[in-house]
Symmetry: C2
Subunit: 252 residues, 2 copies
Amino acid sequence: MRILLTNDDGIFAEGLCALYDALCQDHEVFVVAPEAERSAVGHAITLSDPLRVKRVKRGNVFFGYAVNGTPADCVKIAIHELIGPEIDLVLSGINRGANVGINVLYSGTVSAATEGVILGYPGLAISLDEYKEPDYCFAAYFASILVDFLAQNFLKNPKICLNVNIPFLPANKIKGIKFVRQSTAPLIERFERRVDPHGNVYYWQCGERFTEQDPDTDVVALKRGYITITPLQHNLSDPELLSKIASWQIEF
Amino acid sequence: MRILLTNDDGIFAEGLCALYDALCQDHEVFVVAPEAERSAVGHAITLSDPLRVKRVKRGNVFFGYAVNGTPADCVKIAIHELIGPEIDLVLSGINRGANVGINVLYSGTVSAATEGVILGYPGLAISLDEYKEPDYCFAAYFASILVDFLAQNFLKNPKICLNVNIPFLPANKIKGIKFVRQSTAPLIERFERRVDPHGNVYYWQCGERFTEQDPDTDVVALKRGYITITPLQHNLSDPELLSKIASWQIEF
């Protein structure tokens, strides 16, 4: 397959390289990724500033293109300018840290996969549930298994977008795969107020914690040791509410 | 009502001020908005940098808080730190330019309203379909009508999130209100390649055009002269695909 590989941790991130190495034997892998970390950028795109592209080597060998934009920018410019439209899969990751629950909305990793689907390609986002000391060995192995499975079973569906999260456990402790919905339960979050050495107040956004309890959600299944696979869509309309409000009479 | 007002064009944007003026007689309006334009940032939030907050005056009177973050950041910090949880509505706009179709995903304006709903408040995003020479007079008037309608009819539903787009037409040319779904048809987009005076290549992302034809979508209804109202949700799971793939056997 011809795979476009991107992420939101930047082109030099360990997770992206691990995924590249796991796939490059069997597939043609094209790397177009942010030049530096662009986490939590959601589905941001860059319209007010120009995009610049640099060719990046790994050792002495050409590795891919680094873009001064967001993950969604990378997918767009890859397909429209750098690689061309002959792509079979848009793959994003491996992200350092899980992308489950409400955080899916904030995730640059997931948005790159969604952008793939918007442009007509299957999208796949892979994240590892460990931020501090990640080891991508098993996650990259599983990703390659999944890519091969999809290639044989499902990749003729350009509308498929899968968000995959992998627990950070030894392979024999992983309980299996669960196909689950995205949790929409709120996070417990807080801002930490500090004062800088010049006497000015600033805030760190932090302290999030999930409140979800339903075992059939990505949040809980991942926490319990399952690999979670959540199919995503990007139609934000609420059809139920739409039929409810269609009778409103608003005079103006 | 107690209304939290934000936007993605920045606290000094004309559209936000017009909305403030249209509402401040009848409601308590709290302004917390980006210190400068943060368009197309989608649902980005700021985790790697601290947030700073400035008190902003209009004339000699306190007007609101300017934040060096995204629209979603503004909503979070407003409710968690600056204004407190006693809010009846999160209102975002009036945006300079429409937010319909796939662009809803990229919109900071819409994300602020969605963030309101995530935090448990009704959300309302208002955009005017004119970028070059907007006049917010009618849009602000209509927004105030809609806010009053919602206050009396619907605002006890904290899960409601409405994306409202207003055509840039004289009031008597507006054909009415349509309750429509978000278009998910692809955009035609392109990158313009240029060379800077130092010989370096850069790209402008531009040239988008809608391909949607269905009159029951936000894109087409707006173009035809209707005010469009689209109820939004933030559950990205695809339930249909979920039930299809639940039987997959992936060996690893």
